[in-house]
Amino acid sequence: MRFALSPDQEAFRDAVADLLAKACPPAAVRAAWEAPPGQLDRSLWGDLAGMGVLSVLVPEADGGLGLDETYLVPVLEACGQAALPHPVVETAMVAAPLLGADIGIVTTDLGGPNLPCAVDADALLLRCGDRLVRADPAAVALEPVETVDRARRAARLAPGADLTDAEPVTDHPAEVGRALDRGALGTAAVLVGLAQAMLDRTVAYVAERHQFGVPVGSFQAVKHHLADVALALEHTRPMVWRAAWTLARDLPTRARDVSAAKAMANEAAERAARAALQCHGAIGYTVEADLHLFLKRTWALTRAWGDTAHHTDRVADALMP
């Protein structure tokens, strides 16, 4: 038994976190709000691909790293911490194991009707009845949607979109199920990273902000809000890592463990977002402070790939068949 990242896993995550600290500061997330369709930062995406982030789950023989979810999940946490706008869960966690390495920017409708970064995608992984198909975005009617988090850059499939020319990927229910679980767990990891980022930013802010002649972080009411966020994170991150282990080995508890991770990550991130805004006060209630970039991503992702009720019911079904 060793419930910790290996030195390799830690080094991989830290290297990605270092890259994102330089290449994906809040200003870069804001840039993704404004960039025209097709103009998402490709240089950063190329750097992530170069580090192997996008092909962790692809076998070495096919040009990937040939590693498993226990390597990718901590990296996705780091992506969440930077609020990276790119569809890294959709590409690296969901599409790459099915489509292979060097697939560009891929998005999917498996996590919900609003396909993240659909306006920038090189390929779409779509559900077509019980099958998964790969489609060319140019060949499918997509309708951009206005999302609260504009960095989602989302679009929907037009009603009655024609997928007859799309390339079949799989019609195996087990593979479809694994893709859904990978998306849910990857999103849980991103939410843990977002929650950590909101906590860190708020801790720094309440130590600086003075009212009544003292830092507001010295007030117990503020401390207790933030202690509750730390408490939730301390007990949610291990659930996410454990589910990565379960998924990597395809253990019989996969549905239970993945859904428990997503349900708890949803709750931890919602709590972090609520506490972060409250503790920032009016300064957080603006689009000028960076906090809103993290809040809005959180609100989107807690309901993508299954909300808390959906995943809790799935845990209940696994526990009480």
Partner: protein, 384 residues
């Protein structure tokens, strides 16, 4: 990451499971089927029989060295034992305050003579220890203790009062903090003393807790004389005047995982799943799944903590987060149990008793308000 148990650990689990199953059945039969609560006078005697059985099987304190009555088990094996213990439905440990709260301090600060003289008798439930920290005016604010210890020829003279002393009315010994420097304030000038409760001048009065059991006591010291040799190896743990430092080592154990391991809550959650499956109410079913997740999260978080401890880390302020989690989890679990029972929740029974006991969790070992302050200041680094 490696989330598998070794063959040796699996064998340890199997041995514990077999022993517990056989011995619990025998003990229950000897108690006429249903043992009384360990926090009543009648029940306490029954539970001592159970404790002695554990000692004879070398399960009373598995992580201790063999010379003191343990089996030198690793932290991992200790965790496995706890899991099996509560899964089997074994009773709460009436010896826990000695074994889980005092013993870690004796291992860290005790002399060889104290270790030899105290630990084995503690594991064998021959000496029964209660914690003498709280006083009428010193609850969460432990550093405000007023009970005094005055140095005299051949020992100490104790004055003052301790209270809310769990199982004090049934115990033989008390470990406590006493102000030995009359001019001192707060955490300075305190001495950690080991006191036989039959010392002259000591009076113990049991009283009812919220659930009515005589689980509490107040202990009065009226010029009580504590001879230097009243406990083998001496009555001072650590150095005189260093009591706060010694006591803080124990709070880490109390708040952290040693007192309340995940096995206990997982076992409760499993029982609730069975109740919820029968109830068929979708809201209660969802709440049962959520409660189970929270118990499981405590287990996973503990595996991460033990990984760090096994690598040589010391328990730090994170223990406050652990205490917040398990105490609020216990309330959540029992609240759900009452809702599953519906109108029968008012009946006196294991769940209603468990509910009342769960409500003490956010209060003892430092209230959860204090724990949130500690977590915010020492884990997150917020200004004091």
């Amino acid at each position: 990451m490696d989330l598998t148990w070794s063959p040796q650990e699996e064998a340890f689990r199997a041995e514990a499971r077999t022993w517990l199953e056989a011995n619990l059945a025998e003990w229950r039969a000897a108690c006429g089927g249903a043992p009384a609560s360990g926090d009543t006078r009648e029940g306490f005697a029954q539970h001592l029989e159970w404790e002695r059985r554990l000692f004879e099987g070398r399960w009373a304190a598995v992580s201790w060295p063999e010379e003191h009555g343990g089996r030198g088990a690793s932290l991992w094996e200790w965790l496995i034992f706890e899991e099996e213990y509560y899964r089997a439905g074994a009773p709460p440990r009436v010896t826990q305050n000695g074994i889980f709260l005092l013993a870690p301090s004796i291992f860290e600060f005790g002399t060889a003579a104290q270790q030899a003289g105290i630990l084995r008798r503690m594991a064998a439930a021959e000496d029964l220890w209660c914690q003498g920290w709280s006083e009428p005016d010193a609850g969460s604010d432990l550093a405000s203790v007023r009970s005094t210890a005055r140095r005299v020829d051949g020992g100490w003279v104790l004055d003052g009062q301790k209270t809310w002393t769990t199982r004090g009315a049934f115990c033989t010994h008390l470990f406590g903090l006493f102000r030995s420097d009359p001019d001192s304030e707060r955490h300075r000038g305190l001495t950690y003393l080991l006191v036989p409760l039959d010392a002259p001048g000591v009076t113990v009065r049991g009283f009812g807790r919220l659930d009515g059991d005589e689980g509490f006591a107040e202990v009065f010291f009226d010029d009580a004389f504590l001879a230097d040799d009243a406990v083998p190896g001496g009555v001072v743990l650590g150095e005189p005047g260093q009591g706060w430092k010694v006591a803080m080592a124990t709070t880490g154990s109390e708040r952290g995982l040693t007192l309340r391991s995940p096995g206990r809550f997982l076992a409760t959650a499993e029982r609730l799943l069975a109740l919820a499956a029968r109830a068929g109410d979708p809201t209660l079913r969802r709440r049962a799944a959520t409660a189970w997740m929270h118990a499981d999260a405590y287990q996973q978080q503990t595996l991460a903590t033990v990984t760090r401890l096994a690598a040589g880390a010391r328990p730090g302020a994170e223990a406050s987060l652990t205490k917040l989690w398990w105490s609020e989890l216990d309330v959540e679990l029992h609240r759900l149990a009452l809702d599953l029972l519906g109108p029968d929740a008012e009946l006196d029974g294991p769940w209603s008793k468990g509910w009342q006991f769960a409500l003490s969790g956010p209060i003892y070992a430092g209230t959860n308000e204090i724990q949130r302050n500690i977590a915010a200041e020492r884990v997150l680094g917020l200004p004091r």
